[in-house]
Every structure is written in structure tokens, then in C-alpha cells.
């Protein structure tokens, strides 16, 4: 809804700014009116599109000129009954895959989606392997008990007797 108000305000502001240009008033597009369901779809699509002149911002969150123009186009296409995939295709055809905030689940894009899971799985396998190795290792050799006949014990007993 917020984007809708921004788009409407932008169109109004443009009308004020450009109003002095003779012959241009007629060219201004009317605000795009959407049903609540269309509004929801437009906002969802805007959230998947990168603002090309911003740093890691979607068209939905950016207030740049470019994002505003793109938002208007999204809304026009939604009003024309275009699907989410069709609208994304439209922008990809103009900007490349770069314009999508998340890679598509197809072709090379799968690598990016699956790689984190592969790395977590690899890490888990490593931990289990190391733990098993440690568990299977024989216990450290314990020193033999000191026997009463050992030289050291005999020396100790002798010294104790002398002390007494």
C-alpha cells in the first residue's frame, strides 16, 4: 500500500514539475489503480527486483527515480494481467539476471541454492568421521604399578627407616 501511495505521489509531483511544459500534460500516465490482490502481487514482485542504482535494495524499499519508474511499470503490467514470471522475465530481458535479488532455481542458479546445504553436509560428515576415529583409538598405555621390589621403592623404604 505504501508503494501505491509513493507511486501516486510521484505521479502527482511529476505533474506539478512538468506542468509548465506545453503539450506534455496529456502525456502523463494516470495512476495505476489495483485491486487488493493485485496490490499484493505488485508488492511481492517489487520485493524480488533489485533497484539497479542502489546497494542491495529492492525496488519495493528504494525511493530512487529508477525504482519508482520500475515500480510504475510493475503496476502497469500487473494491471494488464501479467504473471509474476512474465514481469520478472521483462526485467531480466533488459537488465540481465542481475536484476533479480535471488537467483532463479534453474541452471547455474541451482548451484547457489544447493551449495550451502552441500557445505553443511560436508561439515557434518567431517565431524562424524573425526569423532569416530577418536572413539576407535585404543586407550593410552597406563604405566605399570610400582612393585614393591622396584629399586625406587626399595630406596624409599630404606630412607624412611633411616628417618625413623
Amino acid at each position: 500500500m505504501r508503494r501505491g501511495r509513493i507511486a501516486a505521489a510521484t505521479v502527482l509531483l511529476s505533474a506539478i514539475c512538468l506542468g509548465s511544459a506545453a503539450g506534455q500534460d496529456e502525456a502523463l500516465p494516470p495512476p495505476v489503480e489495483l485491486t487488493p490482490a493485485q496490490e499484493e502481487l505488485a508488492e511481492e514482485i517489487e520485493s524480488t527486483l533489485k533497484c539497479p542504482v542502489c546497494r542491495s535494495q529492492s525496488v519495493r524499499t528504494s525511493r530512487s527515480f529508477m525504482a519508482t519508474d520500475m515500480s510504475l511499470r510493475v503496476r502497469q503490467m500487473v494491471a494488464d494481467g501479467k504473471s509474476k514470471a512474465e514481469i520478472q522475465d521483462y526485467f531480466v530481458a533488459r537488465y540481465g539476471d542481475y536484476i533479480l535479488l535471488s537467483p532463479r532455481k534453474e541452471g547455474f542458479g541451482w548451484t547457489v541454492w544447493l551449495l550451502p546445504f552441500a557445505l553443511v553436509l560436508g561439515g557434518a560428515v567431517t565431524i562424524v568421521t573425526i569423532a569416530r576415529r577418536w572413539k576407535g583409538r585404543p586407550p593410552a598405555a597406563t604405566p605399570p604399578p610400582l612393585s614393591a621390589t622396584s629399586t625406587w621403592m626399595q630406596k624409599l623404604e630404606r630412607e624412611l627407616e633411616e628417618t625413623e
Binding site: 505521479v11 511529476s14 514539475c17 512538468l18 509548465s20 511544459a21 506545453a22 503539450g23 506534455q24 502525456a27 502523463l28 500516465p29 539497479p52 542504482v53 542502489c54 525511493r63 530512487s64 527515480f65 529508477m66 519508482t68 519508474d69 520500475m70 510504475l72 511499470r73 526485467f91 531480466v92 530481458a93 533488459r94 537488465y95 540481465g96 539476471d97 542481475y98 537467483p103 547455474f108 548451484t111 547457489v112 551449495l115 552441500a118 557445505l119 560436508g122 560428515v125 567431517t126 568421521t129
Partner: protein, 189 residues
Amino acid sequence: MKRFLVVLILAGVVAMFAWSLSREQSLASPLVGKPAPPFSMPLYAVDSTLSLATLRGTPVVLNFWASWCLSCRDEARVLEAGWQRHGDEVAFVGIAVNDEADAAEQFIRRYGKTYHLGSDVDGSVAVDYGLYGVPETFFIGSDGTILSRHIGPLTIADLDLRVAELQAGVTGEAGGDPSRVQPLSIEGP
């Protein structure tokens, strides 16, 4: 096992790096080799509109600019000189983006621009051409196919090369200087 994991991690890092590079803003436009998106725009100075369709059969230099763009000032005289030199064979069209009519008309007078100059009133042409900022120039063959895109200001040498490519009808290499493009961000007029 350890070797396999090292290879897996390295492959992952390389894949992520390749993916991030593929998502960088590129000089090459996906539109090159494809039909130029049609448009119709109101012209400055005269009470009429220009449609790209009416230029079919003539190569077109399509330049996006704005009066608030510093690089466009450097480029303004280059384009006018190019129009004076090649205007018999190539159409020159300038579209002001996110600009105020008064400022754009003042800019046109100041730099003595005389080719087709109009306004992208609602920003739709900029979106149709996948614009990042201004100046950006598309070179459209006589059959309506986009042959190349140049981002950043054109020099006389750039323009002569592109016009020669247009006349030969060959696809040109992507070119330009992205650092001299003023993005269509919040820092507009």
C-alpha cells in the same frame, strides 16, 4: 576424504565468486541484438511527438541524458557535432530522463542542440531500455535492431566508430566508462 572436502569447498568458493561476477552490472546490455523497444515521446521546442517507428529504415543514435547530469554537458557538443556531420545518414534522438522541462529546454539552448530532443515523461522508456543512469547511448540499426550500447559520455572518436558500425550494420563491442554515468538515484534534480 579430507582432499574431497577441500576440493568441494574450493569449488563452492569459485562457484559463488563466478555467480557474483555474473550479477555485476555489465557494460553489455541484454538488449543488444534484439529489436529496440518502441516508444513515442513529446518533443521539446515543437508541439509534436516523435515515435521510433517513424525512423525505421534509418540508423538511429539514441541518447539518454538529463540537464542535471555533469557528464552530459561534456557529451552535448559531441552529439551535436556528430549530428551535424552524420545527420544525412543517421538520425540522432535525445531523451531527457527524470528532468524538469524548463531545465531541459535551458540545457538545449545553452549547448545549441538541434536534433530530435524529447522527454521520457513517466520514465517508461528508461525502464524499457534497462537504463542505469545518464548518459547512456544505444545504437539502433536501420532494421530496428540494437547494435550496441555505450555507457558514459561519448567522445568524438567513440561516436565516429559507432556511427561507422551503424552504417555497416555490424554489432559493436560494449563500451564506455560506467564511472562517469550518473545513476538515476535519489540525487536527481
